[in-house]
Structures are given as structure tokens and as C-alpha cells.
Subunit: 437 residues, 3 copies
């Protein structure tokens, strides 16, 4: 019998928050998009923690209903006023340029320029994050206060980008477990300098991979660091034969803020991952938000499309679109904190502990209650509160280990923490009173 | 693919309330009972709107556990006081005579007469509505205030009725749809001058029939205008072979007041008609009362008897027995209003729209999200709120169109109006992304 | 068709409370343990009401995972102070000696003695109840106030007990019904002078047995008066072949106080006994506590172990462990009352009435509503409230008697008392409108 403590020890979170934060901080400045050198640089940095495989998929490759787009790279971009001063500069913040902007180099009056400027009137000091992946366009993003003060003059705009045939890049790490059945952990890698969305998720999963890779696990684990939508579609397209091995999965994003925690269930709604996450979140000391699946969000949209219908949920702290920093320059390294990252890590690690240990047992002495005393299972001191709780947990495990209830079933039925139930099962297993089925 | 808009256009309610009201007003004065010329006159009036078939079933015909009773007709009825004045006169209100009263012609003292007088002590100004179909009796109904003031003298009572072998009359209209499966719409025709109960229901269904008859529908529609209980039993008895075609049904009564709306579910409890009505009512802008089936009420009692167990619910505004005007002379043409009738009509028409369009589809590109952009399915302007809502609706339809969810399933799951979901399905169908199963 | 009134008459509770109380009062002084002459004396007393069989099972017999222990008997026990006065005396209260105390006869200083003294600091005037069945030990129980005042001197302790090979004793009464299927009623017989726990349960079940034995029942009834845990295990072990006959069962304990009522469901959770008890308790005029099964409590632990999984619940007034008198000398004859015992008896008797009459019927005229009037089933007076209620009950029974709903299903669906539903079924059965399936 596998003692789940193995995994929980392997995933021990002492200091995890700090390590995840500092990795996220390294990833933050890189200008990522759905393709290009920013993704490559990010994957390379993650590969320092865990030996991941880098995939390069050529432009034009058909991936399910989609096509891998041209690769986008950018060197510099700015707007100069008539006095020749750079008033908006990509070098200051990569959010200033709309992602996938076409190259442009021209002079225009304010009236023309404004059609290509994006700002947030409600948050006048922040730079918004905008993209135009599938329609040819170019644009700059800037604080609304700055936009409002632009003089009516002629501006020089330069976007030194290129949009050419190239590759879509993603990173993948596979850890072989006892069985072929897999747990998929996926984070999007396509956002530029947004700390929570998703440097936090990339860093957390890379750190988790670096812990998982050192331990013997029951399940195999697959980590995917790929651009949103098109990256997941590409992976699914290239791995249709392996998809059925995925028995549990999580999309991880926005895990560094103080919000939530938020869990959006898989399309199936009561998959093991859904139940494990709900179990852990209800005992996390936070008031979690548990949402039913809906077909909008991150890559769970792809994994849970009806042709795959994988048991993959979405874990976040604050839910996307609901925190004011979302998709703005305020989603920076001050917005995420080591403590929040550590809590997020802990929640995911505990859910993995549940998945790893959620076996089904059979009571080998099912008729009447087994005599615990003669097996030394009673605490030394009769009045010991912990001993009584431990006996009670053993009685729950014995009574419901009829081959039809998993340990998580029993934990839910008894309203006990999974770890306590798994611990009782381990003790009972040693006496021969439980047999795994 | 059938676009449900066909039906919703055909049933367009502009001015429906006024038309239904004026028909109800024409029906109001007629003295109906479970048999007799009043029913005939009513059916004849309805036949002016839609070409319905009139059935005449002879007295003594065995109908299931019952027997068609003798036919009742009445010419005049009154009570004269000793001074020879008519103090109660059928000519003033047909409620004054207990329905199915035996003929009587005699002089009696007040003490004897009182045994045959019915009044409402709690509503002393109103005439009650009373019947005695299956026990031989006679009686007069009058305001309690009048009854209390009757002098202790001898009265002449005359009821010039006849109760003889004849026929039970009912009207039936059938509209052939694309398929043999039927929607049954049934209203009781046996109450005399009671406007809400059920001139309102008769008029509404006759108007609906006059709209349905002009359109191409998926289902066939059967409208039944028959006396309560015995009429439904008679129809069921004569159509046992057709009963299994009824896939959805509604009994309609008391639909002209401002109460409710009230829906009593079919015995099955989650039949499509139950779900369609609940869906429409929850979005009707009213606070609906949704009741589980119980074996008392209108003809849903017969349709939902265990030997038939048809998916037939009851739609009303105020629930029978719960509004003070119920079964009194206050249920008159002032109690019902065109606006209320129009709302009731709209609710039924929308439920029909749901039934007509509640198909099941299969996403033809089920692996990953289809690329909506390349099919021109994204709104022109990215920030358009309506466009975003419409994209979201399409994503719901695509994700749950796996051959196992109907559009109503999807509307309920997504908490969206059926019409929006059906509209998205129509758009997707045109692009080939959906295929009806 | 069996009219359930038979059983309810047989179990008529007039005076039941007084009779049960006086029997409990007779049982109270006897010093019971899990074996020994106290159990024998108790069984003998119960046998005066109903001719029960006494079983004697030898020490050392293997019963499932357990072994029948040595038999324990005690003649006297006391603590004398240095002045030779008996300061604690078994003759005053059998709670003074820890049950299954080894024989002891020695002089010891207070310091040594204290290791064998048990008291309740929070309830300083009460003697606690303590046992040490499966670990060799000895001890005295006394009020904490007395313990605190013991002088620091040498004490003489005498426990004149014997713990030798002998027998485990239990009583069993079987009443043959129309069918082999059984109802099990079980009470633990192992506690000494504790009135509620469980003189009350023993007395109630013995009285119930004395009523059941005089009547013709549908089910067979088995009453078991056995020591807690080991007694139930012993019976189960010796009757494995009969266990599958148990279709319903109740463990009865602590039924003389004013608490609760409390019902703990069987492991199955929606067994007929669970539904019958919940039905009766919700209409009992009390606010019942309904608990899901948990694997701790009385002998339902054994009956509901996974290898048996019998449909056996636990009925109590105040739940064990939750009332302050529990397992102390305050659980005496003042704590239980005839009125409470009678209410408890009434609840169990009504649940038996439900089980006995919970048949399934088929409406023989299932198409449309049967004509009740022609069968004389309408009350004489149309406006009679009771008649209307009775008609309504008949309509519920007719509508749902489709061969798939028991009378309890119908009572629950209609929110009517089982007795009313069963009464309507009896009336309808006489007219031939119902046929038992």
C-alpha cells in the first residue's frame, strides 16, 4: 500500500512561496506573445528548474480547426511627438504595444493616431493589455490620462516588429509515475509583463514540476507551458492518442494575488479533480468560490470541449476579469506576493495528495466491527481526545471500505480531512484489516 | 434546420389581448353546463375563428368508468314572492340557478325554500356558482344579503328545465404538423357566466388555434373545448389509440386575471412541457408559482391519471379556489382584462416556441473550440457587449451540443433565454458547425 | 387486504407508559455487565412478560472477529478508611465498582488508591459509570467532592468479584408473522443501574413484545436483549444464515427521558425503517433530530457493519453522550418518566404500523378518475371538510397506485399521515378500485 505521505513530503512547501515569487519576477520582464522569442526565453528559464522538452511547431500547421499563425517578434516601438520626444516607448513597458501589431513606420496627425490608441477611461493611470492575434492591426496602449493630454500635432510612430513564417513554441515536462494514467497541469505562457496573469502560474507549475520530478508518484504527470488557446489546441492536436490517459487535470493561472481561491469545475462537474479541489478548498481556511464549468476562460475551454471532455478544472485566486488589476499594468510584481503563491501552491499540492492516495479498500473483517483492541489500535490512554478521533476515523474507514467507496468518498461522508482518512487507512492496512481493491 | 422564429412570428401577440377579450365577452352571457345548447352555442362561436369539429356523444355512452349523463337545458327560472314579483330571475344571471336543476314548479313557504337556496355569508353581495350534476336536486343561488331579508311568506318557484336523453357536446380542432406527435391544448367549456373560469381559457385557445392554423409547425396541435371531467373522459375514451401521440400538453383556465402566473406540473414532474413552462415563466417578469402535480384541479386530473400519465400541465394566472371572485358573480367581464389575457397568451406562445425549437444538435468540430473568427462569427467591434453575449451563447451551444443536450438543456445550464440559445444554434447551423441529431 | 388497524389496535398504548416504567423500575437495581448473573436476572424478569428464549454462550467461543470473554460476577466491594468505616460501598450503588473489576483485597495509601478512583470533576456530586471489559484492571467510582475530601491515610479495598470461564447470556423472542421477513428490535442489556440507558429500552421492547405476541402480524418479529457489542456480535455470528431475513430493524436505547426524539438512520440511509421513522417523527409533535448513519453508537454499529449492512436504525430520545445524566448516577428512576416512555412507545408502534401496512396497490380503473360518487365514496354532505380531505386522500391513492408507489411513497408525496393514506386504501380496496400487487 502506497503511503500518501510520500507525496506530501516530496511537495513540502517550506519556502515554496519565495522560490515561486523569485522565478515569477525573472519571467516578468520578458515580452511574450502567442509565438516568438519571448516564449522561447520563458521556456528556457523554466528549463533551468526541470528538464522540459521544447516543441517548435511551424507556421501553417493545421491544429484541429485552427492554423498555427505566423511568428511575431518585436525589437522596438515608440511614438514620438513633434518635438522628437518618445512619449510612449515599448522599452518602458511591453504592454505599450498591442500584441501582434504589424510593423509600422509613419507620421500621422493625432486624429489618425487615436484610432490606434487604447486606454482605460475608468483606470486612467494604467496601461491596458491588448492583442490582435487574428486580425491584422497595430496599436499602442497608454494611460488614459496621457492620451487625454496629447496635443493636436503630428506624431511619428514606429513599430519595428515582424510577422513571418516561423514557429509556435511550447514547453512540456513529463514525469513517469507507477501507472500510465496522467495528471495534466497546464499554464498559459502568452502574456507579456503581467505578473499574476500568468508569471505566477508558470512559476508555480515549474516549481511543482521540480518537486514532482524527485519523487515516486502513482500517476504520471504532464506539465504544459503553452500559449493560450492555440498552444493547447496544438498540444491536443499532436497528442490525440494520449489524451485518454489524462485522468485529472488543472489549468493554473492568476495564483499570486490575495483573492479567491476560485475553482471552476471541469465540464463533467464531479470528476475526481473537482471533488479533490473542493475538498481541499473547503478546508483551506479561505472562503472558496466554486463555480460550475462554463465555456469561457482559459485552456479548460479546449480540454473540456465536447470532443475531448477531459476532467480538467481551472484554479485561480481572484477569478479572471474580476480584479481591477486584470489585464493592466497594475498586474505587476507588487500585486503578487510570496505568501499568496505559497497558499496557492499548498492547495494544489494537497489536491495532488488526494489524487495520489484516493484508493479503494475492502475491510477484510467486514462482519461486525473488528476487535481493534487486540490489534493494539486503541490509544494507550482511554480519554485521549486524539486517540478517540483516531478511533472514530478508523471506524469510518472500516465501515465504508466495502470496495465501493474511495477514501475521498469516506472523507466526504465522514466530513473528515482526506489526510486523516488516508492515515487511518494506512494504519489499518498494516494490521491486515484493509486490502486495496 | 427549423428556425423557431417561424412559430414566434406566426403567434405574434400584437393586439392578441383585445381580440381574446372581445371573444370572451361574447361567450360570457351564454348559459353553459356539462351538456346542452349553451355548449353548442359556445362551440359554434369558437368555430368562427377556426374550423373545429363538433362532436355529439349520446346520453348513456360508457366513457371509461363513467356514463354520459342526460342532457340539460333550461328556458327560464325564477322565484316570485307572494306579491308576484320575480325576486330571483335566471334571466338576470344564469348563476341564479344551480346547474342541472331538475324542473320544479311549486309554491312553498320560506322554511322549505331555504333548503334550496345557496349564498355566500362571507361575500354577501355575490351570487355563488353551484352545480349538482350527479345527484338529482334543484336550487337557486343568490346574494346572502338578499337571502337574509326574505320575508316569511309563500314563494312560487319555477325552473323550466329539462333533463333528458340527448348528447354531450365538445369541440375539437386538429392542426397537422410535420410530425404525428401532438401538443394537446385543452379548456373546459362547462361553466356558465364566469369570465375568468373559463371564457378566458376558451377564448385564448381559440385565438391561439386561429394563429397556429396558418403556420407550418413541427408538432401537430390538438385543441379541445370540452366540459370539465366528463368531457375530457369522453375524449380520452374515444381516442385511446391516439393518446400516445400526445408528447406535450396544457390545460388552460382562468387566464384573464392579474394573479399568478401559476403552473402546476404534470404528474411526471419534469416533462418537456414542465421545463418549457418553468423556463418561460421564470423569465416572464412575474413571480410565478410553480406547483407539483396533485390529483385535484381541472382536466389534468384525467390526462394525468395513472392509466394515461400524459405530460400535461395546468396553466392559470390566479390558481383556482384562491382568488375571492372564484365561482361567484364577481368573476365577470370586469375581472378579466385584455392586458392580462395578452400576457397569458404570450407565456403559452413562448412555451410553444420552446417546444417547437427544442432540438438536439451535434457540434461538427467538437475537438477544441472551433475558430469562430474565420467564419465571421465574431462581432465587428470587439468591445460590443451584445457581440460578446452572442459569442458566449455560441460557446455554450457549441460546448454542450454533444448529441446529448437539447437546446433547452443548454439554456437551463447556461441560464440564458431559450430564444437566444435557439438563435445562436441557427447561426451556427448555417456555418455547418452544428448538425441536428 | 390487510387492514393496518389490526396492528395499531394490538399496540394500543393506553397505559403503556406506566407499565413500561414499572418494569424499568424493577430492572434498575440489578447489577448487569456484559456477562454474569445480573444479565440472567434481567432476562428472567423480561421472560415474565413474554416467553423468551435464554441463550448461554460459553466463554472462549469465537464470535466473528471477537471471543466471548470470561464471565464476571461480584458479591461485594467497598473501601474502608482507617477507622474501619465503609466510605464507598457497592451495596449502595453498583456504579461504585468499575465493571469487570478484577478481584482485589488490599490495604493501600491514598496515593496508590487514587490511581483506581474515577470521578467527574465537572459533575462533583455524581458517581460515574466506568468499565474495563477487555483490559485487566480494577477501580472504584465516586463523587468528585468525596474523592477530593479523602484523607491521606491507608485504605482497605475489597472487590469480591470473580472473572472465570462461564457464559455470555442473552434473551431472544421470536414472533412468527405471515411471512418469514423479519423486523429486528434490539436493546442492550449490559448496563447496571442506569435507568434511561438502558432499563428504559429493555422495558419498552419487552412490553412491545408482550403486545406483538398477541396479534397476527405481516412480518415476523425478533426481539433481542443482549449485552452491547459482544452480544450483538454473538447473535450475528450464530445466526448468519437468518440475517438476510431482517428487512427492517431498530436499536432502542435511552427512551425514557424528555429529550429528542432522535433517530439515526441505517447505513443504507433510505431504508424503509428510515423512511417510516422519519415519517412518524415529523408528525410526532416534537422537533426530531434525524441523523445520518455514523459508525459509532449502539449495536447498529454491528448490524450496519459492511458485511451485514442491515437496514437497522437507532431510536433514542436524547442522543447518547449529549445529556448530562449520561453514564452517571443521575441516570436514575427520576430521570425517566412514564409519559416520556409512552411517547417513545407510541413512536415505535406507529413506525411498526407503517411497516406493516406499507403495501403497493394498483388502481383497477386507472384510465381517468374513477367515478367515486356511484360507489358511495363521496361524503353525504358536499361541504364537509373531513369528507373533502378524505376524497382528496382517495384521489392521491388512486392516482399514485400504479404498482410502483407504496403507500408510504404516496403519504410522503401527498404530505399526508400514513394512517390516513392506509385508511383510504382500505376503503378503496373494499370497492375493488385497488388491488394489492
Amino acid at each position: 500500500m502506497e503511503h500518501p505521505a510520500n507525496v506530501s513530503e516530496a511537495l513540502a512547501y517550506e519556502g515554496a512561496g519565495e522560490r515561486i515569487y523569485s522565478l515569477a519576477a525573472e519571467l516578468f520582464p520578458i515580452c511574450r506573445s502567442i509565438t516568438g522569442d519571448g516564449v522561447r526565453a520563458t521556456v528556457r528559464r523554466l528549463a533551468a528548474l526541470v528538464d522540459l522538452e521544447v516543441h517548435e511547431v511551424p507556421t501553417g500547421t493545421q491544429v484541429l480547426d485552427w492554423t498555427v499563425p505566423r511568428e511575431w517578434n518585436i525589437r522596438e516601438a515608440y511614438i514620438k511627438n513633434s518635438a522628437g520626444s518618445k512619449i510612449v516607448d515599448f522599452a518602458q513597458s511591453n504592454l505599450h504595444v498591442m500584441s501582434y501589431s504589424m510593423p509600422v513606420r509613419k507620421h500621422l496627425p493625432l486624429e489618425e493616431l487615436r484610432k490606434h490608441l487604447y486606454s482605460l477611461p475608468q483606470q486612467p493611470d494604467l496601461i491596458p493589455y491588448r492583442t490582435s492575434y487574428y486580425a491584422e492591426n497595430w496599436g499602442f496602449c497608454l494611460p488614459h490620462r496621457q492620451l487625454e493630454n496629447l496635443k493636436d500635432e503630428t506624431y511619428e510612430v514606429v513599430i519595428d516588429s515582424q510577422l513571418e513564417d516561423g514557429f509556435l513554441t511550447y514547453g512540456e515536462y513529463f514525469h513517469q509515475g507507477e501507472i500510465e494514467d496522467e495528471v495534466l497541469l497546464s499554464a498559459h505562457i502568452c502574456h507579456p509583463s503581467l505578473a499574476n496573469d500568468n508569471c505566477s502560474g508558470l512559476a508555480l507549475l515549474a516549481y511543482l514540476a521540480s518537486r514532482i520530478c524527485r519523487t515516486k508518484t502513482h500517476y504520471s504527470y504532464r506539465f504544459l507551458f503553452a500559449p493560450g488557446s492555440i498552444g493547447a489546441l496544438t498540444w491536443l492536436s499532436r497528442n490525440e492518442d494520449k489524451v485518454s490517459r489524462i485522468k485529472h487535470g488543472l489549468v493554473v493561472s492568476c495564483v499570486g494575488d490575495d483573492g479567491g481561491p476560485t475553482y471552476k469545475k471541469s465540464r463533467r462537474g464531479s470528476a475526481d479533480i473537482d471533488r479533490a479541489m473542493v475538498h481541499v478548498l473547503k478546508r483551506s481556511g479561505h472562503q472558496p468560490t466554486i463555480l460550475d464549468f462554463s465555456p469561457y476562460g482559459y485552456d479548460e475551454r479546449q480540454y473540456c470541449s465536447p470532443g475531448f471532455d477531459l476532467p480538467v478544472g481551472l484554479f485561480q485566486r481572484g477569478m479572471f476579469g474580476t480584479f481591477p488589476e486584470y489585464h493592466t499594468s497594475a498586474d505587476n510584481l507588487d500585486f503578487i506576493q510570496p505568501a499568496h503563491l505559497e497558499k496557492s501552491y499548498r492547495i494544489i499540492a494537497e489536491a495532488i495528495e488526494v489524487l495520489e492516495g484516493n484508493f479503494t479498500f475492502e475491510n477484510t473483517s467486514p462482519k461486525g466491527e473488528p476487535h481493534l483492541g487486540k490489534r493494539g489500535l486503541y490509544g494507550a490512554i482511554g480519554g485521549d481526545k486524539n486517540a478517540a478521533a483516531s478511533i472514530m476515523t478508523m471506524l469510518w474507514v472500516l465501515n465504508f471500505s466495502d470496495g465501493r467507496h474511495t477514501l475521498l468518498d469516506i472523507a466526504e461522508r465522514a466530513d473528515l480531512p482526506f489526510r486523516a482518512v488516508a492515515g487511518a487507512a494506512a494504519v489499518l492496512g498494516k494490521t491486515g484489516l484493509l486490502r486495496r481493491v
